[in-house]
């Protein structure tokens, strides 16, 4: 293995083989379904929110190690956060991913998600890493609107 070790960090492979918080759960405030059109990978994300805090992120989908692990890390890193911090963490992650390896990751903000720093150097895989995070953001936006598309698709 050469450069690809950067991509497949131990921690990513761990999350992939032993996903955290997988499965769709009730109750939830909003849901979003995203597809990666180039490969057909899909994810459904449900978000539950109480008192401006993320109380659950549950998910289901098919995809590669990167997309599965990033959903697992998403769950791990978001549950319990105030919504405002969750959004900041989302933005930091998205910035890291599209940064082509030029963005210095901040472990304090990102937690385990820093392991994905290597993905930024594989442009074809950035969409994999972002799939569940983008769906999460959509779901969160819907959760903010009372009585919005609960259970709807993106």
């Amino acid at each position: 293995m050469r450069a690809v070790d950067d991509l497949y960090q131990e921690i990513i492979l761990d999350h992939y083989k032993h996903p955290h918080g997988r499965g769709l759960r009730e109750p939830y405030r909003a849901e979003a379904h995203h597809v990666n059109p180039t490969c057909g990978d899909e994810v459904t994300i449900r978000v539950d929110v109480a008192d401006d805090r993320i109380t659950d992120v549950s998910y289901e989908g098919v995809g590669c190690s990167i997309s599965q692990a990033s959903a697992s890390v998403l769950h791990e890193t978001m549950v319990g956060l105030p919504v405002i911090e969750a959004l900041a963490r989302h933005d930091a992650f998205a910035a890291l991913m599209v940064g082509r390896g030029q963005v210095e990751p901040d472990e304090d903000v990102l937690g385990d998600a820093v392991a994905f720093a290597g993905v930024a150097r594989y442009p074809a895989r950035v969409k994999c890493a972002l799939l569940s995070w983008m769906a999460f953001k959509d779901a969160l936006a819907r959760a903010a609107v009372p009585e919005s598309n609960v259970g709807g698709t993106s």
């Binding site: 293995m1 450069a3 490969c39 057909g40």
Partner: protein, 419 residues
């Protein structure tokens, strides 16, 4: 299993393709993605450059010498492409930007307003495709059916990756206006037998189109022997440049079809009130065509003919046999599509345990082995075989058995990382 393929000098062929000298991730490039796009021989790149440096001008419009030379180069390419596919005349070849445009061009010939009954399509009429199609032979027909209210129907697939013809007579019936089928599958590698279907379609008065995007580059194709009405193919998959493809159609049908894109060069005369159109193929080539690209495709066709389409096909069948044997040694590997070399070409899709194709492809890429991972623009095939995506290796005239060995070694690494 024979590791050497007699009578075919693959090393001499490889020497014509500059990119094959490249390294990827520190390893020699092993390009096994020719079904997506082929590499280009020096002869084609030289023809392109020479065209731009010696006779670049717009075509069909000038009396000047440069324009005349450009027009002769462009029309000469049309004649060579026509001969390559066994067309009756050069005028039966319409240049497009790719296969996809060629198929859309035909789709737009059908409408409720058509004067010619063969192209009149409305509610109650049917178009028949198959579950094996590339999206480029699905979407144009879905969009056409939306526009006209016609119904889209399709052949299913058998478990071993072939068209299920058991329903032929019911599926292709008096309501059928067109049958449009992939000739060689870009995901399964299947070479479809078309004779029975063509006979049935013509019996009920339907037209037949073959999506020959994966056959014209790889097998000897003769439109007259196939007995079909239209074929579509694309330059970049057959050693030619990007930006060029073709629709071949029987001249009488091209004459009956309305124009598609409107603009310069497709007209006979224009007034602000109304216009009349040129004859085919001009009628369908609005605007400045891909001139240099046509010249490049002409050079590609010359190159392929010099190597020999029969020899290329045999080389690929031999490679497919070698690869099927080699892949059978990889634990947990399942080939999706025909398991034998009969009726298949050199494109092989597979699943490796439950490792996602993206991950397989990434590990292979790290070893310089370029395979494609995904749905290959044929999602319904993936759905049919219960996988979200496949890993696909596809061969061409420059592929060697050593490259297949390199792939098999890299597959072992993938199993280690994700095992």
């Amino acid at each position: 299993m024979t590791a050497t393929l007699p009578m075919y000098d693959v090393q001499a062929v490889r020497a014509d393709f500059p990119i094959l000298a490249r390294q990827v991730n520190g390893a020699p490039l092993v390009y096994l993605d020719s079904a997506a796009t082929s590499q280009k021989p020096r002869q084609v790149l030289d023809a392109l450059r020479e065209h731009y440096e010696q006779r670049n001008a717009n075509v069909s419009r000038s009396v000047h010498a440069l324009g005349t030379e450009a027009t002769e180069a462009y029309e000469g390419a049309r004649a060579r492409v026509a001969a390559f596919i066994g067309a009756a005349t050069a005028e039966e070849v319409v240049f497009t930007k790719n296969s996809t445009e060629a198929i859309n061009l035909l789709a737009h010939a059908f409408s409720e307003r058509s004067i010619d009954p063969r192209f009149r399509l409305g509610p109650g009429d049917e178009i028949v495709i198959s579950e094996m199609e590339h999206h480029s032979n699905i979407l144009p027909w879905q969009l056409l059916c939306e526009r006209t209210g016609a119904t889209l129907r399709w052949f299913g697939l058998t478990d071993d990756g072939r068209l299920d013809e058991s329903d032929l007579d019911a599926l292709v019936n008096e309501r059928t206006k067109l049958v449009s089928l992939v000739h060689v599958s870009n995901i399964l590698g299947t070479v479809n037998e078309t004779a029975r279907i063509v006979a049935r379609a013509h019996q009920v008065g339907a037209l037949v189109m073959l999506d020959a995007s994966q056959s014209v580059p790889h097998l000897p194709v003769s439109v007259s022997e196939l007995g079909v009405d239209f074929i579509a193919f694309t330059g970049h998959k057959m050693c030619g440049p990007t930006g060029i493809g073709a629709l071949w159609g029987r001249y009488e049908l091209l004459l009956a079809m309305p124009p598609f894109l409107g603009g310069g060069s497709m007209i006979e005369t224009v007034t602000m009130q109304r216009s009349t159109y040129a004859l085919p193929p001009m009628k369908f080539e609005a605007g400045t065509p891909p001139i240099a690209e046509a010249v490049g495709l002409g050079a590609a066709v010359d190159y392929l003919s010099a190597v020999g389409m029969e020899a290329i096909h045999q080389h690929e069948v031999d490679l497919a046999g070698y690869a099927l044997g080699a892949l059978a040694t990889v634990p947990d590997l399942r080939v999706i599509g025909p398991q034998k070399t009969e009726g298949r070409g050199g494109t092989i899709s597979f699943a490796l345990g439950d490792i996602h194709p993206h991950d397989v492809g990434q590990i292979l890429d790290n070893e310089g082995v370029e395979v494609r991972a995904g749905h290959h623009c044929a999602r319904p095939v993936c759905a049919r075989y219960g996988v979200p995506a496949t890993t696909r290796a596809s061969f061409y005239l420059y592929t060697t058995t050593d490259e297949i060995d390199a792939m098999v070694r890299a597959l072992e690494k993938a199993r280690k990382v994700f095992g």
